[in-house]
């Protein structure tokens, strides 16, 4: 017992090496809100001194430079051509670099046999809860990687209680393997006051990619109803989101609905532009049909922007009683809420006040600490001597340790010894 505690302390005092699989990261805003959130988590972990995290970033060519920009001199960045040269990253590769933990923040575990504990982040279970939003091919892909992930991950980082409950519901993952970290990255948006002469027509703001479950159709219909009722006093609607085929379709729809003069499609915007758009926004409208967290509503609450949101998915969990919630499938309900908010300064003031209060319940440092603790908890389960031993076995090419078994016993030396004796370590295929 003493020896083990000693070992943990030793490990903590030095450093924990985390391999971060960023190969699924795409350029621009195609990944949605999850990308900035992951980068914020990593930046925050880099600030830790006790324990000290060192990162071994695994990247794809298209976003390699973005990762290089955030790597410190302690980190390594390795670019691989997935899947072709994924073979370069054999268990040995992880061993040689003495990686303690693999962190797969984009969900899929691409190196299941790397021989070290893996933490994976799950944002939603869209492929089961709202499969209409993705192609059949994409649905199958997700089915496959979820199956692998559920089998191989040691811990599951979920971004809301809602997502956690869906993971338990669909995959029967034990609650003890799940930990929740909210994507409370709302502080990154700093808004400066805009000089009054720049002020334009008031507007509803909806920052979201044009995915089907973001429900832009109903928003446009509802906005059209609202706009017709409000007449010349009507506000505008500003949309941001990565360009794709659906943006064109939606732009055509706005044209057909006769609202194209009042709907602005901004495309993917930089953080600075985003801050500017937030600073001018009068109401954040968020009618999503499925959400694992909901960064924009939190950002808006934090900035004192009234929120009008869908009651689906995680959104109620995030906004609590601080937003106006509607059924996002009902255009009239959404339109009525827009009318109500646009016409009542009193209601907006109340929501502003409640939102600011609500946003205070979310603290990014606390969320990062949860993640850091989990990484630490898993890291020392690897005894260095054991690592050498398993490494030798691998290099002999005779056997392959099954991570699942080893993780389950939390890697104490005895357990592995027992596993070896019992033959629970399976020979290589």
């Amino acid at each position: 017992m003493f020896k083990r505690a000693n070992m943990i302390r030793r490990l903590r005092s030095k450093r924990i090496k985390v391999a971060v699989d960023l190969t699924p990261m795409l350029p621009g805003g195609v990944n949605g809100g999850v990308k900035p959130a992951i980068l914020e988590f990593i930046r925050a972990l880099q600030q830790f001194s006790e324990p000290h995290f060192r990162f071994y970033f695994i990247t794809a060519a298209s976003t390699h430079h973005e990762v290089e920009a955030i790597a410190t001199e302690h980190d390594a960045v390795i670019c691989i051509e997935w899947p072709d040269s994924g073979v370069n990253l054999t268990p040995n590769g992880f061993q040689k670099n003495s990686i303690d933990v693999l962190y797969a923040p984009f969900g899929m575990i691409r190196f299941p046999d790397c021989g070290i504990p893996a933490v994976t982040m799950i944002v939603d279970l869209l492929h089961r809860d709202y499969p209409f939003s993705i192609t059949e091919e994409e649905r199958q892909t997700r089915e496959e990687y979820f199956a692998g992930m559920v089998q191989h991950a040691s811990r599951f980082q979920v971004i809301s209680e809602f997502t956690g409950s869906r993971l338990i519901h669909h995959y029967g993952v034990p609650a003890g393997k799940i930990f929740r970290t909210y994507l409370a990255i709302h502080d990154r948006i700093k808004v400066r006051d805009i000089p009054s002469q720049c002020r334009r027509n008031p507007y509803f703001f909806y920052p979201a990619n044009f995915w089907l479950h973001k429900n832009h159709e109903i928003l446009l219909i509802a906005f059209q109803i609202y706009q017709h009722q409000a007449g010349s006093a009507a506000w505008d609607l500003i949309l941001t989101g990565s360009d794709d085929k659906r943006r064109c379709t939606l732009q055509e729809l706005a044209m057909a609905l006769g609202i194209s003069d009042h709907v602005v499609f901004k495309g993917h915007v930089s953080d600075e532009e985003l801050a500017q758009l937030y600073s001018g926004a009068d109401v954040l409208v968020f009618p999503s049909l499925h959400e694992g967290f909901g960064i924009p509503p939190l950002e808006a609450m934090n900035l004192g922007i009234p929120v009008l949101a869908s009651h689906e998915g995680s959104l109620h969990e995030i906004v609590g009683e601080a937003a106006l919630l509607v059924d996002p499938k009902k255009p009239f309900e959404l339109a009525d809420a827009m009318t109500k908010l646009a016409s009542s300064e009193q209601l907006r003031a109340e929501l502003r006040c409640r939102g600011v209060q609500r946003a205070k319940d979310f603290s990014f440092p606390a969320e990062v600490t949860s993640l850091a603790q989990m990484l630490v908890k898993l890291a020392p389960t690897w005894d260095r001597r054991l690592r050498r031993r398993v490494s030798q076995l691998w290099s002999n090419g005779r056997t392959r340790a099954r991570i699942k078994i080893v993780n389950a016993c939390r890697f104490c030396r005895n357990c592995l010894g027992k596993a070896l004796r019992r033959g629970n370590i399976s020979p290589e295929r």
């Binding site: 209409f132 159709e217 219909i221 059209q224 109803i225 017709h228 609905l257 006769g258 499938k329 009902k330």
Partner: protein, 372 residues
């Protein structure tokens, strides 16, 4: 005129929309012998594995260019038309869509039938897949169609409430083309009170409000001398597991008999023999069972919501929302022979107002307006 008419929905087991397309196609071809009609058995992305059950009109002015096309061939053809590299068979001047699809149709003018807006006003009554299909079709139509056909005034009003700005759009025409009974209106009203059961028609789905009906039936049977049972004719819908269990349980007590999906012939017989149709639907685009029951002299109890009053006119007996009120109406009809006979005779007058010939005339008028 060269008119392409979508009959894709007539190829499988037909719901009201399928029947409507089938009967309107026939009425149109008969009413306008000098115009050419091309029946499309595959339409947009609505492609049928088997078209043999679809509308068949052997008339000199109708052709069936898609009848013998495979799904693959039809898909290719529609894709080619969508990308501007293909032409629709028959080079129609007008393409009339009837199945919640509004595909690109090249230089032809697109006419779109609007059945109802319940997927927007009451999304809880439908499945998510169905909601998305209806939404996409209707929004495509808003972008592409130049003519709209509404199956009731109530559907038109709802549509205009949802798309208030569309009215102002130039060159957009529309008409109300109500459905009509599949069965010829019987010559005489009922001379005596039928001894048979209550009838309910409609698939088992939340929109049809069977819950209220079964509640009312329980209350009614406690207070009725006759204790007429309820016969339910309707295919299996969705979100109705609990309802099924309840129907089974009430079936064991002799209160309910569930027939499932029935053929047109059987349905006609049911209307002729039933004591009355009870139709408490939450939402209808038209309410075809009402008009079909009336056409057979069968009295109807229904609500005043959406299109129901339009279909029932002065012939139906109306109840106000609650199961208590529905039970009261059932007892009232049962205990007042005068009322029963009066409603049966009004039924025929009301049913005669709906005629496929009149509807076809409206639709032809819309086509001509578009081409003038």
């Amino acid at each position: 005129m060269r008119i392409a008419f979508d009959v894709a929905q007539t190829c499988g087991p037909k719901a009201a929309c399928g029947w409507a397309a089938d009967l309107l196609a026939k009425a149109l071809a008969e009413s306008a012998p000098d115009d050419e009609f091309y029946l499309y058995h595959h339409f947009g992305t609505w492609l049928n594995p088997d078209t043999s059950g679809g509308t068949r009109l052997q008339r000199p002015n109708t052709k069936e260019p898609f009848r013998h096309m495979t799904i693959g061939e039809a898909r290719e053809l529609w894709a080619a038309v969508a990308s501007g590299n293909g032409e629709l068979p028959g080079s129609p001047e007008i393409v009339h869509a009837n199945c919640y699809q509004a595909p690109k149709v090249g230089s032809a003018k697109l006419v779109y039938t609007v059945y109802d807006m319940s997927f927007w006003t009451h999304p809880e009554y439908t499945t998510e897949v169905n909601r998305l299909v209806c939404q996409q079709g209707t929004l495509d139509a808003v972008s592409r169609a130049v003519g709209f056909v509404f199956i009731s005034q109530s559907t038109r009003s709802e549509f205009e409430r949802i798309f208030p700005k569309l009215r102002a759009r130039q060159n957009l025409v529309s008409t109300v083309a109500p459905l009509a009974s599949r069965f010829a209106v019987v010559a005489h009203p009922r001379g005596e009170i039928s001894s048979r059961a209550w009838l309910a028609v409609g698939s088992l789905e939340p929109r049809k409000n069977y819950g209220t009906l079964l509640d009312a039936l329980e209350q009614y049977s406690h207070r009725s001398k006759h204790r007429r049972p309820l016969v339910i004719a309707g295919g299996s819908g969705w979100k109705s597991e609990l309802l099924r269990q309840r129907i089974q349980e009430m079936g064991q007590r002799g209160l309910v008999r569930y027939l499932g999906y029935v053929s047109g012939e059987t349905l006609n017989r049911l209307y002729r023999e039933a004591f009355a149709l009870v139709f408490p639907s939450h939402h209808e685009g038209f309410g075809l069972p009402i008009v079909e029951a009336l056409s057979q002299g069968c009295p109807v109890i229904t609500g005043r919501n959406t299109s129901l009053e339009e279909a029932g006119g002065s012939a139906a007996l109306y109840y106000d929302a609650t199961s208590e009120d529905l039970a009261r109406s059932m007892l009232e009809l049962e205990n007042h022979p005068d009322l029963y006979l009066q409603k049966s005779s009004l039924a025929l007058t009301q049913a005669r107002k709906f005629d496929w010939k009149i509807t076809a005339k409206n639709v032809l008028g819309l086509y001509r307006q578009l081409l003038s």
